[in-house]
């Protein structure tokens, strides 16, 4: 099984498309860091005052590595699913397109092993992309701009002492990993249904876009449906930047996200075990 996971990782990391996400983040974050550094506090304060109706005035320098890490995470996180599905949507369909199921599935390995290895490899890719974001947005920002108190706006303004910040980032990244793993698993499921990577990529993105729009529409009639849209939970990582943290909501969201992942994995397994390999 370990050999199979290693093989799946080799397949992922020897493809050009895998690095699109890494390159995009590698370009965007240093640019954002540079822009924020150049703008200084003015830019961020003007954003906050717009949100608070010009009633907010900050004192002292809150432009530090933590703030940059938060802003870049908040800004890039919305686009992260796009980068995840590029690889997640390719996990099965690339084998169909290339006809390589015929050499893979005629070896003494079970289909359960194949599905599980691909699933784990997809999760490892998601983790590696998020780790890259973590390194650039938090570690690099910290190295360049140092630490300090973190002032953020999540529904309202919170200010956290510098020694109260790092664990929040770790927890937020942990939750973000769960929700992005769900996106990856959704693309993985679609990928098992079709024979080219374009379909699963577009289908996953379409679902995310539609669900996100439905989640944001201000109609009460949709309120009862919102808990069933998985996109509702995608940005619950922000809960770790509130005080006090609503752990009941965090746990509830995490359970829902994990349930989605398990159900999607089982659906994929069922589909793949029944599938006739005709390509």
């Amino acid at each position: 099984m370990i050999a199979l996971i290693y093989i799946e990782l080799q397949k992922i990391f020897r493809k050009w498309r895998t690095y699109i996400g890494f390159i995009a983040i590698g370009i965007l974050i240093p640019l954002a860091q540079w822009a924020l550094y150049a703008e200084g506090m003015r830019g961020y304060q003007s954003m906050l005052t717009r949100q608070l109706g010009d009633s907010f005035i900050s004192g002292g320098n809150v432009l530090n590595g933590f703030l940059l890490a938060f802003i870049t995470l908040q800004g890039l996180y919305i686009h992260f699913p796009f980068l995840i599905v590029l690889v997640g949507g390719d996990l099965f369909s690339s084998e169909s397109t290339a006809g390589t199921y015929r050499i893979l599935l005629t070896r003494p390995i079970s289909r359960f092993q194949v599905v599980t290895a691909k699933f784990i490899a997809g999760l490892v890719y998601t983790a590696s992309l998020l780790l890259w974001l973590f390194l650039l947005s938090l570690v690099l920002s910290y190295i360049l701009f140092g630490g300090g108190a973190l002032m953020v706006f999540v529904q309202k303004i919170y200010i956290f002492a510098s020694d109260d910040v790092f664990w929040r980032f770790l927890s937020a990244y942990g939750f973000a990993y769960l929700s992005l793993s769900m996106v990856c698993t959704l693309a993985f499921t679609f990928s098992s249904l079709v024979e080219n990577a374009i379909g699963p990529t577009i289908a996953t993105l379409a679902i995310i876009i539609v669900f996100t729009i439905l989640s944001l529409l201000p109609f009460e009639v949709l309120d009862s449906f919102r808990p069933y849209f998985f996109t509702t939970y995608l940005d619950d990582w922000k809960l770790f930047f509130t005080d006090p943290i609503d752990y009941a909501t965090v746990i509830n969201s995490a359970v829902i996200v994990i349930s989605h992942i398990i159900v999607l994995y089982l659906i994929t397994l069922f589909i793949f075990l029944k599938k006739d390999i005709l390509t």
């Binding site: 199979l4 093989i7 070896r107 003494p108 390999i277 005709l278």
Partner: protein
């Protein structure tokens, strides 16, 4: 013939809604056989091969390989089979060596790097081992397909059109390799090919499939010899020969004339009698060439079964 069955297929059927791709197929492949699997396009050959390799689930019927039911013993059985199914496809973005390394890791056996090198040398790809497969021609991929088939030293080798895309030299090399693997290494070969001459040259036993059904099964020699054969006899005097045979029973076997050659359709056992008759009547016979091959047989028998 060895009586140990390597493949035993009974009542194998595959249906796709109303389409019956394979219909109640029965076949036996014995240890050491080079088993020719023939049939026109759409006959159900690839579907059968895919069912033998668990890529497709049969609708009904039983498959036993190495005396074991395929489904519950899948892993054990597949570790003893090497196969090319249709065209040889690989991970194009990986090198030839990397592809073989990956397949070696999941072959169920310990395969050394030296073994991989040996296989690359065997198929003449050692010089290109580090080139990505996307730069390979179809023939090179076909050779790499042979290498991956033999990598784990399988007892049963299933080859679906193994010489497609190869030049004549390459085709001969593969044919020689199949003969070598069968005769010297004792491998059992299940060979599907559209090049019927190939089957005629290599196979010991064969089956002809049409519209998912078995048309005929047996040894290649018996199948060919059970039929009357067309021969082309080259003589020094066509007119005299035609006059000579006219009042005799040989006239019944006469078919046509082409330049200095006369074509007869005759049972194999009677060819010597015909040539003896001509020579005894002062006709010089310079050549006797059989022109009926498996191809004619195949075409005739599949046409008949289609009626």
């Amino acid at each position: 013939m060895n009586s140990e069955k390597v493949i035993e297929v009974t009542g194998l059927t595959k249906k796709y809604k109303k389409l019956v791709a394979v219909n109640n197929l029965n076949l036996n492949v014995y240890k050491g056989d080079v088993f020719g699997f023939l049939g026109p396009n759409g006959a159900g050959k690839s579907t059968t091969i895919r069912m033998l390799l668990t890529l497709i689930k049969p609708t009904s019927g039983s498959i036993k390989i190495f005396g074991q039911e395929l489904k519950p013993n899948r892993s054990n059985i597949l570790s003893r089979i090497g196969a090319i199914v249709e065209k040889p496809d690989f991970y194009l973005y990986l090198s030839a060596r990397k592809n073989l390394e990956i397949l070696a890791k999941i072959s169920g056996k310990e395969i050394s790097k030296d073994k991989i090198t040996e296989m690359l040398e065997l198929v003449g790809l050692k010089d290109r081992e580090n080139s990505k497969v996307k730069t390979f021609s179809h023939g090179m991929k076909q050779r790499l397909g042979i290498a991956q088939t033999l990598l784990h030293d399988p007892e049963l080798i299933i080859l679906d059109e193994p010489t497609t895309g190869l030049d004549p030299q390459g085709m001969k090399e593969i044919r020689d390799l199949i003969i070598f693997l069968s005769r010297e290494k004792g491998k059992t070969i299940f060979l599907s090919s559209h090049i019927l001459r190939e089957i005629e040259l290599i196979a010991t036993r064969m089956i002809i499939l049409n519209k998912g059904k078995t048309v005929i099964e047996g040894t290649v020699e018996d199948l060919l010899n059970s039929e009357s054969l067309k021969v082309q006899i080259e003589v020094n005097d066509i007119t005299k020969t035609l006059d000579l045979i006219k009042p005799t029973e040989w006239q019944l076997n006469y078919r046509s004339t082409e330049k200095s050659k006369i074509i007869f359709e005759i049972e194999k056992s009677k060819i010597s009698g015909l040539t003896k008759f001509l020579i005894n009547n002062d006709i010089e016979v310079s050549a006797v060439v059989p022109i009926r091959s498996l191809e004619d047989y195949f075409l005739r028998i599949t046409e008949e079964s289609s009626k």
